[in-house]
């Protein structure tokens, strides 16, 4: 029977797996052609070599630099913006971070800052968080990083204030008006999908390197959550409540001020929290364009592979992040401080600020129990120990991934003739998303060739794909576990939340210690950065599978494995593709950071472009290449998601 049935089934099988067969065929043909045409037409470019495009951008940069003070667009527009923002940042820095107004110290010294931070925390978040805040800030001082921390805090606060100044009104507008919402949503989508570092380069063209560019970059990154969440908060106030207010004869304004905003307050504060965390993350990254603060310490240390210093500063960023997160999260709760505590706290704070204004000991953090150097030494010692005694494990893992995954993929992508890779990608795009996807991919590939950075792009693409595969493996394993077990979810979710709050930089430090500078280190850092998002999306997707269906499957006698593979994963496939999409975007946004620790290729090009004038054009082109890669992969995964979910 089997023998007879087989030939009959063959056409059906062929039909069923047609697409898989075609894809397999394409890949096979690629491999064969790769063997034949290896290293021909790969469009390589030396690290210091430039294409006419890069030189042209350099020229523009020079021309812009030369005309900065004569061209009216600059005189009356960009320079004005830059000046205003610079002034504002400098003002905040003068208050808490930098010597100012002819004083050798900032206006408010450490004791005053600790007092104000403690009091604000007390007022919005209660006693326990206030204690945490005070301890955290004192710890920053003890680390020997007071001034750097305050620089970072100043920049963050300045960016947050400006973000909220624009973000909340825009959010309210988008919440009230469908039309405004329709216009804003795609813009915000674009702002958020763009890898964070990419707008650093063009911004420096208009606003120079320094705090203004850093603040504007931070704004672009930090304002969208404020706008989105405010709009969402306004929109999700129950229709009923609004109707009740209208039925009592409230004007639009009365309804907004007395009903919508107070009801949405909690969610809006959540948006503020997101904005602050995003701003902190971006401010540290903006160290790449010379933003002062902790980020700069980390970047410098990373460039000299000084893990101890990087760890100390990274720890300070973590402490700052935890404090800011706790305070703003706790602020969402309704809370009323007793009158005496409020005014008592205000009085004490006033005294502390006065002391810190008047006396040097309260202004400058001087401590005999400085712990920064011990942290540095400790981290360095651990690193050395790890590198000496764990090479079997870490080295083995690293070599395994490098030789089995990274190298072959990179060889295939970067050593094939460019037209071959392009042809394969366009063909695959057509299979996944039809003509539209194929056209998008073709345009993106053309742009990559135009940037003159084809081979670098392919190397980065290889790393990105490897990282994304690892993210998905992690995401499915941990996500399914969390989705199936409430207890696992309860333990893992806070860890993931904490992971997402941390600025991207901080991830590099421990991995640099473990794996030293290499492509692999950058990939692992990207995986760690992207995994929480993917895991959460998959866990939520698994959890959202109807319990009745799972129960029915169990009742039919499925094993856990069968239930996962045949019921939960297929039903959560929308979440899976979304996770892949988000994973890719997150991984790509770490490309530049990875450039700091040996990822090479596009990431390195961008980083080098920031630091060396003659490479400016190339760096900018590399930034564009990252965006183009991002757009292409985003479109492709979204097309795949659409196909898969229907």
């Amino acid at each position: 029977m089997v023998a007879v049935a087989a030939p009959r089934q063959l056409p059906r099988l062929l039909h069923r797996y047609k697409q898989a067969l075609i894809i397999g065929g394409i890949v096979l043909a690629w491999l064969v052609l790769w063997l034949l045409f290896r290293n021909i037409g790969t469009l390589p470019l030396d690290a210091s070599a430039l294409t006419p495009l890069h030189r042209w951008i350099n020229d523009i940069n020079d021309a812009v630099g030369a005309s900065r003070n004569s061209n009216p667009v600059f005189l009356y527009f960009f320079n004005e913006i830059r000046l205003v923002i610079d002034e504002f940042v400098t003002f905040v820095q003068a208050l808490i971070a930098q010597p100012s107004f002819g004083r050798p110290v900032p206006v408010i010294g450490w004791l005053g800052v600790v007092g104000i931070a403690g009091f604000v925390s007390l007022a919005v978040a209660g006693w326990r968080v206030a204690l945490l805040t005070i301890a955290g800030f004192v710890f920053l001082g003890l680390q020997g990083l007071w001034q750097e921390s305050m620089d970072t805090l100043s920049l963050t606060l300045a960016a947050v204030v400006i973000s909220l100044l624009f973000g909340i009104p825009l959010g309210i507008w988008a919440g009230l008006s469908d039309r405004a919402n329709r216009v804003m949503t795609p813009v915000l989508d674009f702002m958020q999908t763009m890898p964070t570092f990419v707008y650093l380069a063009p911004l420096t063209l208009f606003f120079l390197i320094g705090p203004a560019s850093a603040t504007i970059a931070t704004l672009i990154y930090a304002a969208p959550p404020a706008i989105r969440i405010t709009a969402h908060a306004i929109r999700s106030v129950p229709r009923n409540t609004v109707e009740a207010s209208e039925s009592l004869g409230a004007t639009r304004q009365q309804t907004l001020v007395k009903v919508l905003l107070p009801s949405a307050r909690k969610t809006i504060v959540l948006g503020v929290n997101q904005t602050i965390m995003a701003a902190l993350s971006m401010v540290t990254i903006a160290a790449l364009i010379d933003a002062p603060g902790l980020g700069k310490t980390v970047v410098k240390a990373l460039q000299t592979l000084d893990v101890g210093t990087a760890f100390n500063a990274g720890l300070a960023i973590v402490v700052l992040a935890i404090v800011l997160d706790r305070v703003t999260t706790a602020a969402t709760e309704r809370r009323k401080l007793p009158r005496w505590a409020f005014f008592g706290g205000l009085g004490v704070t006033g005294v502390l600020v006065y002391l810190s204004y008047t006396y040097l000991w309260a202004a400058e953090f001087q401590s005999d129990v400085e712990i920064g150097s011990s942290i540095r030494q400790g981290a360095t010692a651990v690193t050395e120990w790890a590198q000496d005694s764990l090479p079997l494990i870490t080295g083995g893992f690293k070599d395994f991934v490098t030789f089995v995954l990274i190298n072959p993929l990179q060889a295939l992508l970067a050593e094939s003739p460019w037209f071959l890779v392009a042809l394969v990608i366009v063909a695959l795009s057509f299979l996944i998303g039809g003509v539209r996807a194929a056209v998008v991919s073709a345009v993106c590939l053309g742009l990559l060739v135009a940037t003159g950075l084809w081979q670098d792009s392919m190397i980065t693409l290889a790393s990105t794909l490897v990282a994304t595969i690892m993210v998905m493996v992690l995401g499915i394993v941990v996500g399914v576990w969390m989705g199936r077990s409430k207890r696992a979810d309860r333990f893992i979710r806070p860890v993931l939340d904490a992971g997402q709050v941390m600025p991207a930089f901080v991830y590099l430090v421990p991995f640099l210690a473990l794996f030293s500078a290499s492509r692999f280190t950058a990939i692992i850092a990207a995986v760690v950065f992207a995994a929480p998002v993917a895991i959460k999306i998959i866990a939520d997707g698994i959890r959202a599978v109807s319990p009745t269906t799972v129960e029915a499957s169990t009742a039919l006698g499925s094993s856990s494995w069968q239930t996962i593979v045949k019921v939960q994963l297929p039903m959560a496939r929308g979440a899976l593709t979304l996770a892949a999409n988000q994973g890719l975007i997150y991984v790509l946004s770490m490309v530049v950071v990875g450039g700091l620790v040996g990822a090479g290729a596009l990431g390195y090009d961008v980083v080098a472009g920031f630091s060396q004038g003659q490479l400016y054009g190339k760096g900018l082109a590399a930034g564009v290449a990252i965006v183009v890669l991002g757009v292409m992969l985003d479109r492709l995964t979204q097309a795949a998601a659409k196909r898969w979910t229907n």
């Binding site: 207010s245 009592l248 409230a250 004007t251 007395k258």
Partner: protein
């Protein structure tokens, strides 16, 4: 007496081409589903007419999707009607400009909602005073008036609580107090008790009856629950597919249903509780002994059972000295036994 609210040929059509629908007699005559297929528009309220007398408790009853909630929202223009007139104390409120409409809402009518619509960030007292606040009533006066209505609805002692600390029934009392605080002429209730559990619902119904008696306001009450409608309503309007099926007192609906839909609806109603003698009396026959006891035609059957059964002669149904008919054991038993 002139009606407080007088609604004529009121239409509400949802959809981008709503105005075309109400302009065309042909489209207007289509059943809902066909209209939906033809134009994509949904006719929620279709040519509704009714009057509400001062001080009346007017109940609009219908199943979900019958358009009753849309209808009550049209009356206050929370939903903008597509066509028709709504005369309120002699003024067509469809012609009111936004300012006039706000004045009306602030002073003339107010509404109680199914899901309460309370402001979660305000205390009970501040919720109740909200309407006064937006009118610009000074704080002290507001507090005074809030306290009055809070006492009236039986919430004394909860002034400082927040809505989420109260049970559903108490939350709706807050909603009721808020509606009463502005001393409106008309109160609209949009299925106010359907989110409450049955015992609380019964309490709240009695509460509304008590308030209606005490404050004597005109009330328009939306419900999907026939027994609630019969319990509260002076008159009841039955809606189906956006149209009026029948308007009448409870005993009229039960005694003389306008069509099979209404008949089906009132089938399970305990008739002896609703029907009055005028619905079951018969003309006197020659053999009847006409010196039995007298009862009014408005007497509810259940209350007449004892006197009819204990009398050995038929009971006379008399209004203003005029003999309308008689009721004997068999008529009474016909109603009571029919329920079993």
């Amino acid at each position: 007496m002139d009606p407080v609210i007088s609604v004529r040929d009121l239409w509400k059509v949802f959809g981008s081409n709503a105005s075309q629908v109400v302009a065309s007699d042909e489209l207007k005559s289509l059943p809902r589903s066909e209209l939906m297929d033809r134009t994509g528009a949904v006719a929620a309220v279709r040519g509704v007419d009714f009057d509400v007398a001062p001080g009346e408790m007017f109940v609009v009853m219908g199943l979900s999707g019958s358009g009753k909630s849309t209808l009550v929202r049209c009356l206050t223009r929370l939903v903008e009607p597509t066509a028709g007139t709504i005369m309120f104390e002699g003024e067509n409120i469809l012609e009111a400009d936004p300012k006039r409409l706000r004045d009306l809402r602030r002073n003339k009518f107010s509404m109680v909602f199914q899901h309460f619509g309370l402001l979660p960030h305000r205390t009970v007292a501040d919720n109740v005073g909200y309407g006064l606040e937006i009118r610009g009533v000074p704080r002290a006066k507001r507090g005074e008036r809030s306290q009055e209505v809070i006492d009236l609805v039986g919430l004394s002692g909860y002034e400082k609580s927040y809505p989420d600390q109260l049970s559903g029934g108490m939350q709706q009392r807050v909603g009721l107090a808020r509606a009463l605080a502005g001393d409106p002429d008309v109160l609209f209730f949009d299925e106010p008790f359907s989110a409450l559990d049955p015992l609380i619902r019964r309490d709240m119904q009695s509460e509304v009856i008590r308030l209606h008696r005490e404050v004597g306001k005109t009330m328009v009450f939306i419900t999907h629950d026939l027994s609630e409608a019969l319990k509260l309503g002076d008159r009841i309007l039955i809606m189906r597919d956006g149209q009026v099926v029948q308007v009448g007192t409870g005993d009229e609906l039960v005694g003389a249903p306008a069509d099979d839909y209404v008949r089906d609806f009132v089938k399970d109603v305990p008739r002896s509780n609703v029907l009055t003698l005028k619905w079951i009396m018969r003309p006197p026959r020659p053999e009847d002994d006409l010196d039995g006891p007298e009862l009014s035609p408005e007497t509810v059957v259940r209350e007449a059972v004892r006197s009819v059964l204990s009398a050995d002669k038929p009971v006379k149904v008399v209004r203003d000295g005029e003999l309308l008919g008689v009721v004997a054991d068999e008529e009474i038993l016909g109603v009571v036994a029919g329920e079993a």
